[in-house]
Amino acid sequence: MTQDFTITAFTENHIGLLNRITSIFTRRHLNIESLNTSESQIRGIHRFTIVTNTTEDTVKKVVLQLEKQVEIVKAVYHLDDETVFQEIVLFKVSVEKAAEHNLVERLIRDKNARILSVEQDFMIIEKTGHKVENDELLEFLKPFGLIDYVKSGRVSLIKLDEELKDLQKLLAEGEQPTNTSN
């Protein structure tokens, strides 16, 4: 059975690492549904948040392959209910059409969206939420002069604290010399 998994990888900030990460997916003919990178709570360590739709057996192997990379400290995977996550969509909507249908108020009140900018001809609406609600809003806006839109990748935090503690421990251990004759 395939389902959405969120993979979180904590890494060094190394040029080309993104390439190394994506090639692990490419090799297995796996699609990356969304990808986000940012700094992390630990200074100098970056986090990649990757959503992929596959089987648990495959995601396990992918995570081990990720962790095998020299510059990846730790990689984990989670199901949706083990994380808190959000995505952002920006919509460009015709001001004229929006006014006609009295959209602004409905958007803010019913859909939890906000207006970021209003220009002469168009306005930019921001909606943050789960993919399903964001897509609902997209469908809602389509008949009302939707000019353009863009979606972000998923950002997600893991509910349990264990991973972060483990990460700090791994980093501390990693500073210790290993026997190179292995």
Partner: protein, 573 residues
């Protein structure tokens, strides 16, 4: 003189990036480097001129030759192989060897020159993005654009290449970084915080593995190159001897245990021995040590050892349950985990079970081996040639093979007495590997006899390296088993493609005359009467020697597990 010797070495000295490359190599005790110069790496080659005392550079005839030579060197010595090449085509010519080293876990440091940093991304002359190209086939790679980053990058490269599960790394150094100056200081790398090369041995998993082995009635050990890379040959032998465990080898595990050891039951996989393949599907506990369940070993996975509990000892966590589901995973260096495991297992002999292997050996002996080694056919067989070489070398030679029928036959019939004696391209199956790898091996272990057994196809893929033999006087003994076919492909065409021999027949040149052109003594034979004498002459000859043996054109290698078949469906004919 005394003053020179006691001079503090930690002092910072201003020097060029190119000089720093050489000083770093000296600090890593890399005394032999294989390579090929070109525009973007000229500053390093210029600096090399001043280091001829400390670093010997072997000029090959092609960058692919250089990297295979470095692989041969690394596999024969256990040390890191070092390769240098220029940017663009020089760097891309390394790729096959890098991929080969990656899949066969060979420690290599590849240093490539790159166009000057202001030219990066401009499609400059001989510019390729070798970092992106090599990424999926390197354990690690880095581009250095500043001279001061060179020592640190090289220190990390050696550490990463050698530690944990070894592999190839690549450092791409821009030409301006080679020219620019830095204050040189070298510190060996001993740790990288994001990298844990050797997982700790979990004693609870060791206990679980020991319990499975102690309860087993039909335990069966599969050993791979991990035993050699972990320098755990003695620990492995003690382990199997304590519990009387029949043990079979993967292509790269070969020579970790002497061929004649009573518990060595032979080769696994597609052209492996009859007993180990058949009994894989009869054993009750399968114990894999430093091997990765390659598809050439397992055959059809869904019918592979389904009846058995699986114990897997490996240094790489990503190998656990990758192909075969594991019941007791024991991570860590097998030198350590085997010691712990041996302490917990009971003494046993499993004589009846071992007898099952012997029974099947007898079947293979009668149906395959006797005819291969003492043929009734007029044409020579590959097996009898290998058998004669065994007699002459007494199992002490380093065997280097290429890819194909001769490789399977040579690995099946060569007798080994010591470890690190079998060098072949296993995972990638790179034709053209043998000749340069044999040169690297011979230069690495000059006191050992190095025999390159090679097919007429693979020989011509890197035949230009005869020039490297000529120049270095590396006394490699080359045995070309010539059947005027790409034999393994032809065998498959015969068995699975109704004998449609599409583009597999070779019209070959006079190999002996070619060798003579390179100052290499050669001889060509096609009759049994000449075989003994020719091999004796080859072994007795001091320098390199080429012996071409014409063998049966359409001989096949058996046993064989056809692709997609179960290992227990291994065919004898």
């Amino acid at each position: 003189m005394e003053a020179v010797l006691t001079k503090p070495t930690a002092q910072k000295v201003k020097t060029s990036g190119a000089d720093a490359v050489l000083q770093s190599l000296v600090a890593e005790e890399a005394s032999l480097v294989f390579g090929y110069p070109g525009g973007a790496i000229m500053p390093v080659y210029d600096a090399l001129y001043h280091y001829q005392e400390q670093i010997k550079h072997v000029l090959t005839r092609h960058e692919q030759g250089a990297i295979h030579a470095a692989q041969g060197y690394a596999r024969a010595t256990g040390e890191v192989g070092v390769v240098m090449a220029t940017s663009g085509p020089g760097a891309t010519n390394l790729i096959t060897g890098i991929a080969d080293a990656m899949i066969d876990s060979t420690p290599l440091v590849c240093i490539t020159g790159q166009v000057a940093s202001p030219l990066l991304g401009t499609d400059a002359f001989q510019e390729t993005d070798i970092i992106s190209i090599s990424m999926p086939v390197t354990k690690w790679n880095i581009q250095v654009t500043k001279a001061e980053d060179i020592p640190g990058a090289i220190a990390k490269a050696f550490y990463i290449a050698k530690s944990g599960r070894p592999g190839p790394v690549l450092i791409d150094i821009t030409k301006d970084a080679q020219f620019n100056e830095l204050e040189f200081e070298y510190e060996k790398c001993e740790a990288i915080r994001s990298y844990r090369p050797v997982p700790e041995v979990d004693s609870s998993q060791v206990a679980k593995a020991a319990e499975l082995i102690n309860q087993a009635k039909k335990p069966f050990v599969l050993f791979g190159q991990g035993v050699i890379l972990g320098e755990a040959e003695a620990e492995f032998k003690a382990f199997i001897e304590k519990a009387g465990l029949p043990s079979a080898w993967t292509l790269l595990g070969l020579s970790a245990l002497p061929t004649e050891h009573p518990l060595n039951v032979g080769m696994l996989g597609m052209h492996g021995n009859y007993g180990p393949n058949k009994l894989t599907n009869e054993c009750d506990v399968l114990i894999a040590v430093g091997m990765r369940f390659d598809d050439r070993v397992t055959g059809k996975l869904s019918e592979y050892a389904k009846q058995a509990k699986v114990v897997h000892l490996d240094i790489d966590p990503a190998e656990i349950s990758k192909n075969v589901k594991v019941d007791a995973p024991v991570l860590g260096n097998c030198k350590e985990s085997l010691t712990q495991l041996t302490a917990l297992i009971n003494r046993n002999s499993h004589l009846e079970w071992l007898e099952r292997f012997r029974e099947l050996d007898l079947i293979e002996q009668n149906q395959v081996i006797n005819e291969e080694l003492n043929p009734n056919s007029e044409a020579l067989t590959m097996g009898e040639v290998i058998n004669r070489i065994n007699k002459e070398t007494d199992g002490d030679a380093v065997l280097v093979t290429d890819v194909g029928q001769h490789q399977m036959v040579a690995c099946r019939y060569t007798q080994f007495k010591q470890t690190k004696s079998n060098i072949t391209s296993g995972g990638l199956g790179t034709m053209g590997f043998c000749l340069p790898a044999a040169i690297g091996a011979k230069l690495g272990v000059p006191n050992r006899e190095v025999i390159a057994v090679i097919g007429d196809g693979g020989f011509q893929m890197t035949i230009q390296e005869l020039g490297t033999i000529f120049q270095t006087e590396a006394a490699v003994k080359i045995v070309v088993l010539n059947n005027s076919f790409l034999g393994m492909v032809r065998q498959w065409q015969q068995l699975f493609f109704d004998k449609r021999y599409s583009s597999t027949e070779l019209v070959n040149p006079d190999f002996v005359r070619i060798a003579e052109g390179y100052g290499i003594k050669g001889k060509s034979i096609d009759s049994r009467d000449d075989l003994d004498g020719a091999i004796k002459e080859m072994i007795a000859h001091e320098g390199s020697y080429l012996l071409e043996v014409h063998v049966g054109k359409e001989d096949n290698v058996f046993p064989m597990v056809p692709t997609g078949a179960s290992v227990s469906d291994v065919r004898l004919s």
